[in-house]
């Protein structure tokens, strides 16, 4: 069937004076397959759209080219208008004659405006209709990690009516909150109880993920619990795998006999101070040695310093460089610590730490005094470094997610922050993304819960079917697209008894076209940005009109 293209030129309220619109109009009429050219001043307004719609409704045209402002402004409105007029919304091709033509150059740009219009017309000739469809999504959510963030996600989702499965590899829920002094205190026990009582939350402890396939809306996950392997399906996955504190051997050498202790050890002491032979007179904390921006270690050191004051009554020194107090409530804890007599000593150069007469000798240059000072401590609590939980890398590779340069979940990419990852339907919350305190983790949780709810609650998602599509006849099954898709949206699917070919999930696809560019068999078409459409634009460049 003959293609009938209608070209709608908009002079933006007659403001684009360096374009001779009648001339553009006159010459656009001569372009191949163009059957209508209209000159408008207000295509973005209701009246303008109405004018356009009546032309479409007349049935005179079946492709629309609009030469107007940037598509970034009104593209969606124009597409809706097409649909309203009963035309497939993909039958639209735009020429940016305002931002990228009239406004961008000095002097008359009629020729350029005409060429941009010609490019859009040429592209329009190759457009194919795109069908919107509903795809069902599984409304169940998998939460990996039963610490604070994981528990909160599960509770919040359950409260919104989404069933969750909470997988924890440890024996019980609670994670690092157990024995961790927090301010404000987290009601860990009541959270645990609420989860137990909630019928929409299934808790699997001593369980780990072993395999993961599929995409958003339909993840197939295998979970190993004891000797059993469970197969489950989920619509979304939330990672809340937390962190692991580590004392870097290069920073502190914890040797027996030297009373340099870990935070964990201090917690043990604080739990049962009566077991100590001698009540320590002086306890020191050292911070900012391995990482100047440590948030969790600072918070726990401050809380522990207060606890030491309260339960042991020792003299407490905190040796630090900048003291990161940007977490909610930490400034307050810091003030309280000072009020209670905790001494903060600031350094620029790393303190020198050694043992002398069974005590820990800390020598440093106090930047406030501007002098060398020496402090003897009965115990010195070493600073911990926040590291990704063990197995983060393995877990990420099961779900084909990238990790950041330090090994935490979520690749370093501005578009992913705060809680997304490159795979749609997978979110990362809390300390599995790095050094995040409880308040920040809570923000993460809220954000992930909202996104998950939006995604799954309707039970279906609207997609443009086969916008990016593998031609099963042309696919050579070389797996290249599967390997390169940054969003893990492509998998092998059996098309008949013998053949498997690559297939793109409409829901998981983010429409980047990387696969289409790399496919060696040219088997992937990307409607709107297909080879013939891009090349059509290229072909129109420089054609004398």
């Amino acid at each position: 069937m003959q293609i009938r293209i209608g070209v709608f030129l908009c002079d933006c309220g007659k403001s684009l004076s360096n374009i001779d619109f009648p001339k553009v109009s006159e010459r656009a009429e001569k372009l191949q397959d163009v059957v209508h050219v209209g000159l408008h001043s207000n295509l973005c307004l209701k009246e303008g759209i109405e004018e356009m719609l009546s032309t479409i409704r007349d049935g005179a045209i079946d492709r629309v080219v609009i030469a107007a402002c940037s598509p970034k402004l009104k593209e969606d409105a124009f597409r809706n208008a097409l649909e309203e007029a009963g035309l497939n919304s993909n039958f639209l091709s735009l020429a940016n004659i305002r931002e990228q033509c009239s406004w961008a150059h000095e002097g008359d740009v009629t020729e350029k405006a005409l060429e941009l219009t010609a490019m859009a017309v040429e592209r329009a000739r190759f457009l194919k209709p795109l069908v919107k469809k509903d795809v069902p999504v599984n409304k169940e959510v998998l939460v990996v990690g039963g610490g604070f963030a994981g528990m909160k996600v599960a509770l919040d989702l359950a409260n919104l009516g989404l069933r969750t499965t909470l997988v924890e590899r440890g024996l019980a829920l609670g994670g690092r909150l157990e024995g961790f002094e927090t301010n404000p205190a987290v009601p860990i026990n009541s959270m645990r109880k609420a989860i137990e009582e909630n019928r929409d939350i299934e808790v699997l402890t001593s369980a780990e993920l072993t395999r993961g396939e599929g995409e958003v809306g339909d993840f197939s996950i295998r979970i190993k619990k004891g000797d059993e392997e469970l197969s489950r399906s989920f619509g979304a996955i939330i990672f809340a795998t937390g962190y692991r504190p580590e004392i870097s051997p290069g920073d502190f050498q914890l040797r027996p006999g030297v009373n340099l202790i870990s935070q964990e050890k201090l917690t043990e002491i604080l739990k049962a101070p009566e077991r100590l032979e001698l009540r320590p007179k002086t306890i020191g904390f050292v911070l900012d040695v391995s990482d100047e921006n440590c948030r969790l270690p600072t918070l726990s050191a401050l809380n522990d310093a207060l606890a030491v004051k309260e339960r042991l009554g020792s003299e407490v020194y905190v040796f630090c460089k900048s003291l990161k107090v940007d977490s909610e409530g930490v400034e307050e804890v810091y003030r309280e610590a000072r009020d209670r007599g905790v001494v903060f000593v600031k350094f620029e150069e790393r303190p020198r730490i050694c043992s002398e007469d069974g005590r820990v000798k800390v020598e440093l240059n106090d930047i406030l005094l501007g002098d060398e000072i020496t402090v003897f401590c009965d115990f010195l609590v070493a600073e911990e470094r926040i590291m990704p939980s063990e197995g983060t890398e393995a877990l990420s590779s099961i779900l084909k997610m990238r990790i950041d340069s330090r090994g935490f979940c979520q690749d370093e990419n501005v578009h992913l922050y705060p809680v997304s990852c490159e795979r749609k339907g997978i979110f990362c919350v809390g300390a599995c993304r790095g050094d995040l305190d409880i308040a920040r983790a809570s923000t993460d949780v809220a954000s992930a819960v909202l996104s998950t709810y939006e995604l799954l609650a309707p039970g279906t998602a609207i997609v443009e079917a086969e916008r990016v599509k593998v031609d099963p006849e042309k696919c050579r099954v070389c797996l290249t697209c599967i390997r390169v898709c940054p969003h893990g949206a492509i998998r092998l699917v059996r098309v008949d008894t013998e053949r498997e070919v690559a297939q793109i999930s409409d829901l998981a696809c983010e429409g980047c076209g990387i696969c289409a560019a790399i496919c060696p068999a040219k088997a992937i078409d990307f409607e709107g940005y297909g080879d013939e459409q891009i090349l059509a634009e290229v072909q129109a460049i420089g054609e004398s009109l």
Binding site: A104, E115, N413, I514, Y529
Partner: protein, 129 residues
């Protein structure tokens, strides 16, 4: 014989360079009007044949402009484009086209001036040929 059309074809990522070009327009930062912007969803979409065909059409220069490294919405699109541009330069060299006529650039959505500079620079470079 392919005639030269003296145009610069700029394949622009719609998440960054395309927006920078829009902004340049809004700011009325005037630049040479021989540039033809082709909007792509990610600069990683641009294939070798697109580049070659642009030169077959007689383009004076071809630009691939994407997001900054580490800021690609599709993670690897811009780094792939960079590799592809390097590969394409070899293909161009084989046919005797000055490699400088193809360039990959990284631009953030608000870097209108930088966008203009890239266009001016390429225009300047390709004038000399």
């Amino acid at each position: 014989m392919i005639r030269g059309n003296n145009k610069i074809v700029a394949f622009c990522c719609e998440n960054s360079a395309y927006l920078a070009a829009d902004k340049a327009g809004r700011m009325r930062l005037h630049y040479p009007d021989n540039v033809r912007i082709i909007r792509v969803p990610c600069v990683g979409r641009v294939d070798l044949i697109h580049i070659l065909k642009a030169f077959e059409k007689g383009a004076a220069g071809v630009l691939l402009i994407g997001c900054h490294e580490g800021a690609c919405q599709h993670l690897t699109g811009n780094t792939r484009a960079k590799e592809r541009a390097a590969y394409a330069r070899n293909l161009l060299k084989e046919v005797g086209i000055d490699e400088a006529r193809l360039r990959m650039a990284n631009i953030a959505p608000d870097m209108a001036q930088q966008f203009v500079r890239e266009i001016e620079d390429m225009t300047e470079k390709t004038k000399e040929r």
